[in-house]
Amino acid sequence: MRQKTNLSDELKWVARKLFEENRIDLLIGYEKGTLPLHNRPCFVSSVEGVDKLVWDSLCANNLATYLPRLFTRTHRPKGWKPPRVAIVAKGCDARSVVGLIKEKQAPRENIVILGVPCDGVVDLRKIEDALDGACPVSAKVAEDGSIMLQLDSGKSVQVSREKALFDACSDCPYPDAPVFDIRIGREIGDKSARRPFKDVEEFEAKSPEPRWKYFLEEMSKCIRCYACRQACPNCYCPTCFAEQTQPKWLGVGADLPEVMYFHLGRIFHQAGRCVDCGACVRACPMGIDLRIFTRKMVKDVQELFGYEAGISLDEPPPLCTFKMEDDESFITEP
């Protein structure tokens, strides 16, 4: 089933074709990075750049985050036309793209979604843990999905796929793009039955004080660099509420109440949008466990309104609509 070795080639072939047929102006994909475990986003604007494209489980970033800025009309020269963009999309990335299209942040007709099959991306931190301080100089994804690392000491280490996989990926219900224009490789298959929220349920089962304590501890790591927000494809507000001055919702200091306010607001703002891609967690330099909180939104939206973000282009966003029979068990009665 795995076909990693030729997926990159297939992607290059498709990209070349798209440029040659003049169907796109820009392609957002991945290229090899400068650090051994980090393939990085790259922007290809002509056929010449196609050869650097790669696709494997070291391609972790959610590329959808770049879309809104390509289509904003401010600071554009006269006669500017929105570009035609192809985007390499894993299941989660494609769901983000769908969300952005629905919220009018990217025009559908200008986007070519290149769906790539994804059976999970690696978690840099897990690999660092597995290496325990050793310094890798190069990394390769093996046939079976495990990560082969060359260390600076000359030794080589193999980390199994299970140990290297990002948490969000191990319970991912959508390994394939639910909406796409061109599929690269073969479909992995429907895993939509797999929707465990075990972590959230366990957290819910705790009493309030430990829950609060955990929230507090995680929040106290935050340095307010806004990497979570910037990495999140759905955080596209031109001016974030955290930076508005009229009204000024919160201060800019790094003290806890402000930090908590920011995250409470930001995560809540993702209700019905969050696709649980984990971009915020990967971007966070302080290792804050944001997913335990973002997933609560995903779970509640699913349970209360039967809505999953980014699955279809037609379904209205859950907070823009209602049903007469929506749950109101939370209403205070005399």
Binding site: P208, W212, M324, E333
Partner: protein
């Protein structure tokens, strides 16, 4: 690493609630039903707790969750949001759209460990002065039980 220990800015949990303490409650009431309901309670001389400060909003759909976070951060002990009964919204569906938001918000705050008594939602019509007084009493009683707000509150 922060040189100013951030935790020092969080008030120490008080195990005992001060005797003289009275909670500060903020009520966001929709113009067309709940505000009129509160008004009716007053005109009908129905007694309700004096802890409440009312902010009149055009519709419960006007409530931005940030209003509620802001209130809690500034030391409000409890927030009540009240609108028209489902189906009675002056703007047809404002409260129905808001209801989804409120359901999530209620869960969300509880999830991170904020006491559920702090933020409550209700429907009160213009004819329900008595109901408004009862709900408010219930909110005040609930907040009294959990004590002064400590979480999220900022001191400067």
């Amino acid at each position: 690493m922060k040189t100013e220990n951030p935790k020092s800015e969080i008030r120490n949990p008080q195990s005992e609630i001060p005797e003289q303490w009275q909670p500060k409650i903020l009520a966001f009431l929709c113009n067309w039903c709940s505000y009129a309901g509160a008004d009716l309670a007053g005109v009908s001389r129905i007694q309700y707790p004096t802890n409440v400060r009312v902010i009149r909003v055009p519709c419960s759909g006007r409530i931005n969750p940030l209003f509620i976070f802001s209130a809690l951060r500034q030391g409000i002990d409890g927030v009540l949001v009240s609108g028209c009964h489902p189906g009675d919204c002056h703007y047809i569906s404002g409260n129905l759209v808001a209801r989804r938001k409120f359901a999530l918000l209620k869960n969300w705050l509880e999830y991170v460990g904020i006491e559920p008594e702090r933020v409550q939602f209700s429907w009160v019509s213009a004819a329900e002065g008595g109901r408004f007084a009862e709900i408010l009493q219930k909110v005040v009683d609930g907040v009294k039980q959990v004590g002064p707000i400590q979480k999220l509150t900022k001191d400067i």
